[in-house]
């Protein structure tokens, strides 16, 4: 099976083919969905480690003397407060308070930020950022925005064995940097590929609910570098139980960890307060940013719906779009759902009427005509032991 003409391959596509992956188009990219069993891939990340190609994710560099002030205006968070070498989760909202995209922003330097949008949203996020370099009162931010998506490969290693695996591949000089790297932080390290040294950006971030790393590789400087790094990590990880993981397990892992996926729990017509992301919106500490007025009004009146976790003790999953019922009335809609590989029962995220969002509330989901009991449970569904 070859990539359809309109799907972009990543720098690692030939590796996935060698590994026998099933592919899918995701956000315009030709991505591995699974290599064998997605449940086995999921459990490997919970128990040992998994390696993911995330090169479909966007990479946008924002640089210049006003980079921090610009991001404070363009995003809902206070990026100027982020220390160099640290990361922050934030949202790009429209004027109505809807979420154009959710992003991770790394502060690489005083005047340099790496913004990582979702694959499918990268064009929209870029356009929104570029459209916000000037304010309505006539100020133009002194920033440069450059799209590095095509030039960057992103490999994630996630799971409890991740640090041990990373330590196997970095040079002696980088060992301490890996060990000292905190959650939501990023550092330059050097990988010893056996074929020379490879500088990479190593972040302790992820989308799985486990400890893990995301490794940004400059594929423009060296087009072979992503493949060399993947192969190195795969062989270094073998004795730790590392397996290649596709997007199917990435989705079930993030769902167990209660993390939103844009297009499901977030969209241009969903505000952060409904999605349980109110604390991400810096209404108190920032005077002016795009969407502020609308977001302040939503916070004041309270959201019309709330995102909740649902679970029952069967394996019959509630799927996106299924109606949530209470006393025979439709009171909400499922946004994501799956049989949880770790927990062994069905879990789902759903928007429901705010008065039905309390943990313990008994609801039903219409499973293709069969109203099936589900209970509102606390999020996340799964939390790792620390």
């Amino acid at each position: 099976m070859s990539a359809p003409n309109n799907s972009k391959p990543t720098a690692l596509s030939s590796v996935h083919e060698r590994l026998g992956a099933s592919f899918t188009d995701f956000g315009g990219w030709w991505m591995p969905l699974r290599y064998g069993s997605d449940v086995a891939e999921h459990l490997a990340v919970r128990q040992a480690a998994g390696i993911f190609d995330l090169s479909h994710m966007g990479e946008v560099l924002v640089t210049g003397p006003e980079a921090a002030a610009f991001l404070d205006y363009a995003l809902v968070g206070r990026l100027s407060a982020v220390e160099v070498g640290r990361a922050k989760y934030s949202l790009l909202c429209n004027e109505q308070g809807g979420v154009i995209d959710d992003l991770i922003i790394y502060r690489l330097g005083q005047d340099e930020f790496l913004v990582v949008p979702n694959a499918a949203n990268t064009p929209a996020a870029l356009a929104a950022l570029e459209g916000r370099t000037g304010t309505p009162d006539g100020h133009t931010f002194d920033v440069t925005i450059s799209d590095r998506t095509e030039a960057t490969a992103l490999i994630a290693v996630q799971g409890p064995a991740s640090e041990a695996i990373l330590l196997e591949v970095v040079t002696a000089d980088s060992v301490e940097a890996v060990k000292a790297l905190r959650y939501y932080a990023i550092v330059d390290v050097v990988v010893e590929t056996g074929d020379g040294e490879l500088p990479v950006k190593l972040a302790r971030t992820g989308y799985t609910g486990e400890d893990g790393f995301e490794i940004y590789v400059d594929a423009e400087a060296d087009p072979e570098a992503p493949q060399r790094l993947w192969t190195l990590l795969e062989s270094a990880g073998q004795s730790y139980g590392l397996v290649p993981c596709g997007l199917a397990s990435r989705d079930s892992l993030r769902l167990e960890a209660g993390m939103p996926l844009h297009g499901h729990e977030l969209s241009e017509s969903i505000d952060p307060f409904s999605a349980g992301l109110g604390p991400v919106v810096a209404l108190k500490s920032k005077v002016s940013f795009v969407g502020r007025d609308a977001l302040a009004a939503i916070k004041e009146s309270g959201p019309q719906r709330k995102l909740v976790g649902l679970a029952n003790d069967t394996k019959r999953a509630a799927r996106p779009g299924y109606a949530v019922l209470h006393d025979g009335d439709t009171v909400g809609e499922v946004t994501s759902g799956a049989p949880s590989p770790t927990l062994g029962h069905a879990i789902a995220l759903a928007f429901v009427r705010p008065d039905l969002a309390e943990v313990g509330t008994e609801l039903q989901v219409d499973l293709r005509g069969k109203p099936t009991p589900f209970t509102v449970v606390a999020l996340p569904f799964y939390k790792r032991e620390r």
């Binding site: 997605d38 079930s252 049989p339």
Partner: protein, 127 residues
């Protein structure tokens, strides 16, 4: 891998990916192509023994981690036997779709539109 490599040559197929063997009663199952598209199967819902099934109509469900799809009966008749092993261990569908993971057997009154292995595979390659 082209579709023909995932097709068992001893069976005939419905366009909805069910296979039928030539025994009587006839065993019904899901093709490897369908199972591969589903991913890890976690739940199978089948008609009960004695139930009447109609060619082209929904008679059950198969659910995986990522999706759910309906099972269409490829034949009309009465269900003779249901494979309890696949209900107890739905992962059998992933490991042995043409063998241990047969779904149910039917005393066939009439067949729906069934495709030869080659016709079924060719239809998949076109997609």
């Amino acid at each position: 891998m082209s579709a023909i490599d995932k097709v068992n040559k001893d069976y005939r197929y419905s366009a909805e990916h069910e296979w039928v063997d030539s025994a009587s009663p006839a065993k019904i199952g899901l093709s490897q192509i369908a199972v591969d598209a589903l991913g890890d199967v976690v739940y199978v819902d089948l008609p009960e023994a004695g139930a009447t099934v109609t060619a082209g109509e929904v008679c059950g469900e198969v659910e995986s981690t990522k999706s759910v799809s309906e099972i269409y009966s490829p034949v009309t008749g009465t269900v003779a036997e249901v494979n309890d092993a696949v209900i107890d261990d739905p992962a059998l569908l992933n490991s042995d779709p043409y063998g241990a993971a047969w779904l149910f057997s039917v005393e066939v009154d009439s067949e729906g539109d069934l495709l030869s292995p080659e016709e079924y595979a060719a239809a998949q390659d076109q997609e």
